[in-house]
């Protein structure tokens, strides 16, 4: 660490920037930073960006704790004979969440010319062969759901970008009340006339959709959503 006031170059200024905004530099080093900044527009800009980032991070919002949660959590923790049921993260969902559960899924497509057509329970989306195309699976949950299981089974020659060669993909995730979007970037590498099976499961409730994927030789992929099967 360099002691005493000295003339910094831009590299030294950048090297010390983190410590400077964190207030970790000596008085002499801080003065050297200020002296350099005063005569260097690029470093002024860099400092401004760093300070803006730090300020935005400091004020990142967080939800307030649910009223009564602290008392409830302590009460449960001090009753060792009680079964404590964790609702999320690994396995097991609250049984109250399962009763009367109604889940459904709709599919919309992120297409530049908005070609998605919805006809009753059938949706058709025209996509291009060999090109990545993202469809959004929109899961509408009637209430917050913890630990819902989303599964995909892909037909041959269709893959989800980022999951090369995987025909079956499963996620455990939480769903917020209302709409939850699962962006699904797909790519078909050959002609396909088969189904992509998507299902969502929470507790004892499961809903499965069969999505017909047709890939034409004319460089277009057609997605057809058939009515859901309740399992």
């Amino acid at each position: 660490m360099v002691e005493g006031l000295y003339f910094m170059n831009c590299k030294q200024f950048h090297d010390h920037l983190d410590d400077y905004v964190d207030g970790m530099l000596s008085q002499e080093q801080s003065q050297s930073m200020q002296q350099h900044e005063a005569g260097c527009l690029d470093c002024q800009h860099a400092l401004g960006q760093q300070q803006a980032l730090m300020q935005a991070l400091k004020s990142m919002p967080a939800p307030k704790m649910r009223p009564g949660f602290a008392q409830q959590a302590i009460k449960r923790a001090t009753e060792p004979q009680q079964q404590h049921h964790r609702r999320g993260f690994v396995t097991g969902f609250g049984s109250a969440l399962v009763a009367g559960l109604a889940l459904w899924m709709v599919v919309t497509a992120m297409l530049p010319n908005n070609e998605a057509v919805m006809q009753e329970d059938v949706m058709q989306v025209m996509l291009s062969l060999h090109q990545e195309s993202t469809i959004n699976l929109a899961f509408n949950a009637p209430k917050d759901l913890v630990g819902a299981k989303i599964s995909l089974i892909l037909p041959a020659n269709v893959e989800v970008i980022g999951f090369p060669g995987q025909r079956e993909i499963t996620w455990i995730t939480d769903l917020n009340k209302g709409q939850n979007i699962l962006p699904l970037p797909l790519k078909a590498s050959a002609a396909v006339d088969d189904f992509l099976v998507a299902s969502i499961e929470s507790g004892q409730s499961k809903k499965t959709f069969r999505i017909q994927i047709e890939v034409t030789n004319q460089g277009r992929t057609e997605l057809v959503i058939t009515p859901a099967n309740m399992v």
């Binding site: 760093q50 730090m54 939800p63 704790m65 302590i74 923790a77 964790r86 609702r87 999320g88």
Partner: protein, 167 residues
Amino acid sequence: MLAPHVEHLYHLAYRFSRSQHDAEDLVQELLVKLYSRHNELSKVKSLKPWLTRSLYNLYIDLYRRKERSPIDHGYDETISASACTDAGPQQEVQRSEMQHAIAKQMDTLNENQRILLIMHDIESYTLAEIAVILDTPIGTLKSRLHRSRAKLKKSLDDGTFSLNSAC
């Protein structure tokens, strides 16, 4: 003994897990574990960092068994309550948009980087405190912090966002 710390633990658990449900579960699980060790707790000199470390360990233990959710929850506008007191409406919108962008980009950091940014830059733990909590040398933390901020800035710059639009 633990009651005064529950709210802070909840906020930290929310930052870690990004989910109010998981935050409640984490805190509940932690309290259950700790109340059975109340004799040990009473001997702890500085409870806050000790609790933070316990929460972090519990989170990591559970996180490793859970795939990161693919769901894009977007940005919860209902929790965007923090504000710059001297900011005007336009600045407020810019700040909110910027925080939205930051929240998304923080998910692109690796878990060690994200946790460090949460603890240091958001929750204002000192590096010395974090060194104890994470059992990691300060020098390593400083390097990691530098890389985390640089990555965050770069990803924000690569997007359409201007860091200068913050309050």
